[in-house]
Amino acid sequence: MPEGYFGQYATIGIFALAGMTLVGATLQLAKLVRPNVPTVQKYTTYESGIDPIGRGWAQSNVRYYIFALLFVIFDVEAVFLFPWAIIFESLGTQAFIEMIIFIGILALALLYAIKKGVLEWLS
């Protein structure tokens, strides 16, 4: 085992090199032994499946994703509200104001979302 600061890293380097050589040698060996029969079918997307139709560029409806995002906003709000409500009495006014600010920010986000029209279901 090599000594010194860089020697310790050299051990890792030798290990990595040995690993890569092993994999590379196995692949090369397989290439020498195996038969080589190139056919067109092998280059299709699904070799033994259905032929792909159309182009890879397609649009999908992102509406559910926006609903999920809005749901997360209120999910997180609830996560923070429950522990806050349990010890609310011992916290005093400071905690009350903080929670009002927090809910206010979320309400702003909802206002923004409504104004953007993401809650209207247009088909």
């Binding site: 905690a95 702003l108 923004y112 104004k115």
Partner: protein, 493 residues
């Protein structure tokens, strides 16, 4: 048991709060107002937000303490970064307002996201806890993912946003794993810590060196996460694609702000918090710095697209700043800050010219499109010349002084061979900067092209950055002095 609420003092994050509030105002006002109103008032609202932010940052200059349960460092280093970031954001907003009007894609979200991104970058500069660094990283990254894909109708823009997002999420997970390992090793995610609440620096000053094996592993993962943000080799693959597809004002903003934020966290994490571990991480960062300088400069030579060329040049610049980081002395830290501030101004100016000369929808961004640009737009071509010379590090520009200080710091620390590589790669880099100048001055324009509209705000940005580049190249001592005063919060020693 009575609950004792933690002491809350907001001076440390007041600049961020100003930006977040003005982002809310911009988003709500922009959504309610009619679309014509957007053009005039939203950039003005954002400007007020940045102004307030700079005011709050300047007013705490000289303070030195930890706030919000030791999560936020209020020190000169953070303040210097915050003022620079606010200036970058302001220039981006002005430039963006003209860009969006020209391409007919103005939306309040652009300004809101730039404001939020700058807030995240500022938080990164003052974060004194790994979790806060991660939070800040995600805040500005998510804003930037959207901004990179802002040109929704452009396939290039969508491609670059997708690449940036996927690779960014990948690198964030590395960073998170690094935090987990650091927590496992130290029992805390705080960068400093004290006797009651252990932190990274406290842990390293107390424990014997053999107990730090896991922390070394964590350091490696943290380097991956931050190396991605500063676009250092081998984590640079996203840079050319993201820079090419993003709107030019945003490209400049990423090159200036994202890099400064990443380096701010890197400097605080390594040169302050993990300083005692420097013999372990320094070889790693030296390797990255050398690879970054060489790969960035050499690959830029073969680029035919000016935005891609500037992207590779920004990779090379990350390598130059890293030589200041590995110096781990005071000159290295202040030099890196000076370098990042002046580089940010020059690169924002450069991308401002690129965004103006690109024309509608940025169709003219190849090198051949710059043929004879000097004869069509002498002022813009002259400004671009200045910015490119500054990036190349020619004397009388701010880039020269920046290179001088970071290389000087590295020599002082005994890494002359790294500086020699830096000098050689600067010489290579000068080639591709000068190539643009040759194309602009010595070749005739191909055919008569329709004139390019030049907005007032955009030309103001070009003028301001050009003047700043010259002034900082001649009278650099005030800014270097400020960078030298911008020290870290330090515990123990």
């Amino acid at each position: 048991m009575p609950f004792v609420p933690p002491e809350i003092r907001l001076a440390g994050i007041a600049p961020e709060m100003a930006l977040v509030v003005s982002a809310f105002v911009v988003l709500i006002a922009g959504t309610f107002a009619r679309s014509r109103v957007n053009r005039v008032y939203l950039p003005a609202l954002a400007t007020i937000g940045f102004g307030a932010s700079i005011y709050f940052a300047v007013s705490v200059w000289g303070e030195n303490e930890l706030q919000l349960s030791d999560m936020i460092a209020l020190d000169g280093f953070a303040t210097f970064c915050k003022i620079s970031l606010a200036v970058f954001g302001l220039l981006t907003v002005w430039l963006g307002s003209d860009y969006l009007t020209r391409d007919g894609i103005e939306e309040p979200e652009f300004y809101g996201l730039v404001l939020l991104a700058v807030a995240g970058m500022m938080l990164m500069a003052s974060a004194a806890d790994l979790i806060v660094i991660f939070l800040a990283l995600e805040t500005f990254s998510i804003a930037l993912y959207v901004l990179v894909g802002y040109r929704r109708r452009s396939i290039e823009g969508q491609e670059s946003a997708m690449k940036y997002f996927l690779l960014g999420a990948f690198s964030s997970s590395f960073f998170l794993l690094g935090i987990a390992l650091a927590y496992g090793a130290v029992g805390s995610t705080n960068l400093y810590g004290n006797s009651e609440n252990p932190g990274l620096a406290q842990f390293l000053s107390e424990s014997a060196s053999e107990a730090t094996g896991v922390l070394v592993l964590a350091t490696g993962f943290l380097v991956v996460g931050l190396g991605f943000k500063i676009a250092a080799v081998p984590f640079h693959m996203w840079t050319p694609d993201a820079y090419q597809g993003a709107p030019s004002p945003i490209t400049g903003f990423m090159a200036a702000g994202s890099k400064l934020a990443g380096f701010a966290a890197l400097l605080r994490l390594f040169d302050a918090s993990l300083f005692a571990l420097r013999w372990e991480w320094r070889p790693l960062l030296i390797g990255i710095a050398v690879a970054t300088m060489i790969a960035g400069s050499v690959l830029a030579v073969v680029q035919e697209d000016i935005k891609r060329m500037l992207a590779y040049s920004s990779i090379a610049h990350a390598g130059f700043v890293l030589t200041g980081v590995i110096a781990t002395n005071d000159r290295g830290i202040s030099g890196s800050l000076f370098y990042l501030a002046t580089y940010g101004i020059a690169v924002l100016g450069g991308f401002a010219v690129v965004s103006i000369l690109g024309g509608k929808d940025e169709h003219r961004v190849r090198l051949v499109d710059y043929k004879g640009a000097f004869y069509e737009h002498p002022a813009l071509a002259g400004a671009l010349t200045l910015f490119l010379l500054s990036l190349a590090g020619v004397p009388v520009t701010s880039g020269f002084v920046g290179k001088l200080v970071v290389f000087g710091a590295a020599i002082e620390a005994g890494y002359s061979w790294v500086v020699v590589i830096g000098m050689l790669t600067s010489a290579i880099a000068a080639f591709f900067y000068l190539r643009v100048l040759v194309v602009m001055y010595m070749q005739e324009p191909d055919e008569s092209r329709p004139p390019i509209p030049v907005g007032r705000a955009a030309s103001t940005v070009v003028a301001l950055t050009a003047v700043a580049t010259i002034i900082l190249g001649l009278f650099w001592s005030p800014l270097i002095g400020a960078a030298e005063d911008a020290t870290f919060f330090f515990v123990g020693g």
